[in-house]
Structure formats: C-alpha cells, structure tokens
C-alpha cells in the first residue's frame, strides 16, 4: 500500500501555551532528566464523593476516566461489598466479568492504535480503532451506551444480558478473533516495528518493583502480578485463563503483553457466556453499616484501588481512589531517561496513561531551560525515525 494517510495532529490536544505535563531535559539527542507535572485532570472527585449517596458514587467514579470507565465503579462496588460483607448473585458476577473484559479489549485496541500513530503506522491506528467499533456496539446492546455503561451497582449489576443478545455478542467475538491474530502477526513479525520498539524505554524488574508499578507495565518487566489471579473477584476464578508475562521490560514487551491479553479476554468472555447461570442480578441492598472496605480490580492499565469508609449514613466519610496510571506514570522518571528524543513519545505512551496527559510534553535544554519542542514536534520526530528505519529495511507500506 503506497498511500500514507497523514493526520496533521494526533489524538492529542495540546494546550499550546506552556505544555507542562512532561518536561524533558535534553543534552543533544538524549533525555537526561524528566519532570512530571500533573493536575490538569483534577476535579476533586474524592471530595465530591463525600456529598453523594452510595448509589450516586458509582456514576461519579465512572467519569474518572472514560477509557476504563467500568474499572473504577467495579473497584468501588467491590470496596462497598467488602465493607458490608455483601454476597453478590452469581449471574451478576459473570456479567461484571464480561463487561470488564470487553473493556480491556477496547482499551488495548485503543492503545494499539495510538502507539501505531506515534511511530507512524497510521494504518494500524485506523484498523485498531475500526475493530473497536463492534466492541462498542456490544456495549450499546447490553447497556444502552457505547461508553460509560453504568453497569455496576452495589450488590449486583444494573442491566441483564438478554438471551437473544448472546448470539450477537458471540458473533462480534468471532469477528474479533482473526483481527487479533492479524495484529499479533503484524506486530511480532514486522522488522521495522521490532527495530523501533525493542530495547526502547526499558523498565527493569527491580525498577518496576521499586516504583510499585502495576498492570501490563509491570508484567512486561517480569513482575507476576494480576489482581484477577491474586485476589480474585467477579467470575475470574470460575473460568480458566493465563496471566501474560514478558521479561524484556521494553515497549515491545508491553505491546506483546497487551495483544496477548486481548486474546485471553476473548477466551474469558466466551467461557462466561457459556457458564453464566440464570438468576438474580441484584442483591437489593438498602443500607450500609459503618465500617471500611477495600476493593481492587485489574483495569486495562493495572490495579485500580478504592477504599471507602462509612459511618452508617448515606454517604462515604472518605473515599480514596487510586488509578493505575498514578504509579505507572511516575515510573517514567526512570524509563524515559536515557532515551533519545525520537523515542520519547512511544516510551511515555507505553505505560498507557490516561492519554489526555501524555501530549502535554515540552523538551527543554538542560542548563538554559530554553524550550526546544512541544508534544506535536515529538510525535513527528518519532514518526520520522520509523520512516528512516523503513527505508533502511527497504519496506513499503
């Protein structure tokens, strides 16, 4: 395919004046230090939660992040069920698992598309996002919305999966399976992608442990942690699946982990659709006793942790939320240092942060703080590097 689709600015929306999320200090071509500034997304959700009643909090925390919008409510309802020792009906556990795994597929495909865009494979971007659409359609069939599905409720789920919809879901999975095989082949076999991503942005196993990283970022560095296996919730201990571990710790390893996880997700959903029993989907909880509860789930990006404290009234006294990106993004302090500027965007994106943050990047000269480039320039530089590699491999896209 000789025609290359070039989108002028990526999925990023740089607020151009003083982009300040990542300040990369450079000497020549190398990144020597990195200052991470966050707070652009801070909306005070933990404080707002104290003024909502427990049922409303599930809607509030859904909007922490739109991409993993079911992971936060899932962790929240797990925390509440831990607090009040609530037994959730079996069918609800299976439905929750199906929704969570579908979210993992759509989130990883989203990331794959963005990563492709950063390194100049815009075709990967378009194809990955095209295959996201049937997954979003499935969400719409089950819950009524493509995003923010509002499925989680303390004690169960809000909506049931109708029997007549199951063939549609299975058909969507059947269409997804060859597509995932295609992506796997495209990534693992492409020499340019391997040259571009192998050895880039390495996070060693010890660094991963020191910085307490989670999710695919940790598993790509050989750290065997996955909340679904370690502290099972939902229906994860009722179906069989594998935790995907790689050891290289570079961006390529993170990519492989995510692709293989999507295939595991398809398998989990199929098993859940087969094994799901008939029955109630809601334990009909009417009040919450005083106490504290902890719930954590394996979101697409890693462990999502919620702590809730109640005093017997309708609202939380304290609701602590920790998204996986909180620890993963901080680890860029070691992963991005030592990289060249052209590898900077893909390294920063490899932890799959809430994307809104990543493009706020500025590259500054070390001793003078003179601004050299912004996020958009870095993406372009990254795409140019791939082009040079492609020419050196004499590949045509």
């Amino acid at each position: 395919m000789s025609h290359k689709v070039v989108i002028p600015i990526g999925p990023y929306h740089p607020l151009q004046e003083e982009p300040e999320f990542f300040r990369l200090y450079v000497e020549g071509e190398k990144v020597v230090d990195i200052d991470i500034v966050i707070g652009y997304m801070h909306r005070g959700i933990e404080e707002l939660s104290e003024h909502k009643h427990f049922d409303q909090v599930a809607f509030l925390v859904e909007r922490i992040c739109g991409i993993c919008s079911t992971s936060h409510p899932f962790a929240y309802v797990n925390a509440m069920e831990d607090l009040a020792q609530i037994k959730v009906p079996e069918r609800a556990l299976y439905i929750r698992t199906i929704i969570a795994e579908m979210e993992r597929i759509h989130s990883h495909l989203l990331w794959l598309g963005l990563a492709g865009h950063f390194i100049g494979y815009n075709t990967v971007w378009m194809w990955a996002w095209r295959y996201r659409e049937p997954v979003l359609d499935c969400f719409e069939i089950i819950s009524g919305n493509r995003n923010h599905y509002a499925m989680m409720k303390v004690g169960g789920v809000r909506k049931d999966i109708k029997d007549e919809d199951i063939p549609t879901l299975q058909k969507a999975l059947d269409e997804l399976t060859p597509a995932l095989d295609m992506f796997k082949g495209a990534v693992m076999d492409d020499p340019v992608i391997q040259a571009r991503l192998k050895g880039v942005g390495i996070l060693t196993k010890q660094q991963a442990i020191d910085w307490c990283v989670v999710g695919p970022t940790a598993r790509a560095s050989g750290v065997n942690i996955d909340v679904r296996k370690d502290d099972p919730y939902g229906a994860y201990d009722r179906v069989s699946w594998n935790v995907i571990i790689e050891t290289a710790g570079d961006v390529f390893a993170k990519t492989v982990v995510r692709i293989l996880e999507m295939q595991e997700s398809v398998s989990i959903i199929r098993q859940c659709l087969d094994k799901m029993p008939k029955g109630e989907i809601d334990a009909n909880i009417k009040d919450i006793p005083p106490g504290e509860g902890i719930g954590h789930v394996e979101a697409p990006r890693g462990e999502c942790f919620h702590y809730v404290k109640s005093d017997g009234t309708n609202s939380p006294v304290r609701h602590k939320i920790r998204a996986p990106s909180y620890v993963n993004v901080a680890s860029n302090k070691v992963a991005a240092v030592g990289q060249t500027i052209s590898d900077a965007t893909i390294t920063l994106a490899a932890v799959d942060p809430c994307y809104c943050c990543t493009e706020r990047v500025a590259v500054l000269e070390r001793d003078s703080d003179r601004r050299l480039m912004n996020g958009w320039d870095l993406i372009k530089l990254s795409q140019e590097k791939t082009e040079k590699l492609r020419l050196s491999f004499r590949c045509r896209t």
């Binding site: 600015i9 929306h13 004046e17 652009y40 991409i67 989203l110 971007w125 095209r130 994307y355």
Partner: protein
C-alpha cells in the same frame, strides 16, 4: 457571505482543547476520524495549531490549571472562530459543579456557539451538531 465564512462552512478545521475531561468525549471526537464515521470526507480535520483553526472544540470541566490556558487559546484563535462545547461537562459542569477545583463553566471563560450535550455525545450527535452550526453560520 464573505470568503472567510464560506471557507469555514465548506471545510471546518477544528482544534481540540481539553479542559479536564474524563477523555470519553475526546475519544469519541477522535472516533470521528476513524473509518466508520470518517469526517474527513466532510472536510473536517483536526488542526495542529489554534492559529489554523476555524472551530475550537472544548471538552471537560475547566479547572484552575486549564481555565487560563483556555482563555489564552481562544485569544490566539483567528476570528471568526466558533466555539463548540462537546459533552455535558463542557455544557454545564453537571456533577462537577461543586468541585473545589472548578471555578466556572466553559461559557464563562469563552463564548460558546454550539452546545452538544451527552456523556459522551454519540459521534452521530457531534456530526449533527456541526451540521447545525454550519446551517446557523450560513444563515448569517
């Protein structure tokens, strides 16, 4: 209708400014570029710089860090620049209106021409919103 308006209504270049959204509206905006919706066939593309933009798409709730930037962005945009508030948060802050980190809604920072509510608005709703905008501009 003058030439600038004609160019704007024929092919809108949009600049996407996120205040502090949950990213869902942003992802749905990007979805517009992907094969299912493909707004480039309608002449709409994402501009790399605000100085090339005809429309400013705003998502999210302004917080103290992003409010000033939004103001600056709007002042840098060459006029006429229409502002589109995408998503319920940009339209009226909804559940974040009592947040300690949110000083005001979007339309108190920049003048908004089109409100596209939804959480997130479906891509079809966004296209319909832009179509209504073009109709409104052509009526001027």
């Amino acid at each position: 209708m003058n030439l600038r308006f004609k160019a704007l209504t024929k092919s809108i270049w949009v600049f996407h400014a996120a205040c502090s959204p949950c990213n869902n509206c942003d992802i749905e905006i990007l979805d517009l570029l992907t094969p299912r919706f493909d707004v480039e066939r309608l002449g709409m593309i994402l501009a790399g710089s605000i100085r090339h933009a005809d429309a400013l798409l705003v998502t999210g709730v302004p917080n103290y860090k992003t409010k000033e930037r939004l103001k600056k962005l709007y002042s840098q945009a060459p006029k006429p620049c229409v502002v589109v508030a995408v998503g319920s948060c940009a339209c009226g802050r909804v559940m974040f209106k009592d947040s300690y980190n949110s000083p005001c809604p979007v339309d108190e920072v920049v003048p908004v021409d089109v409100y596209i509510p939804g959480c997130p608005p479906k891509p079809e709703a966004m296209i319909a919103g832009v179509a209504k905008l073009i109709k409104k501009l052509k009526g001027k």
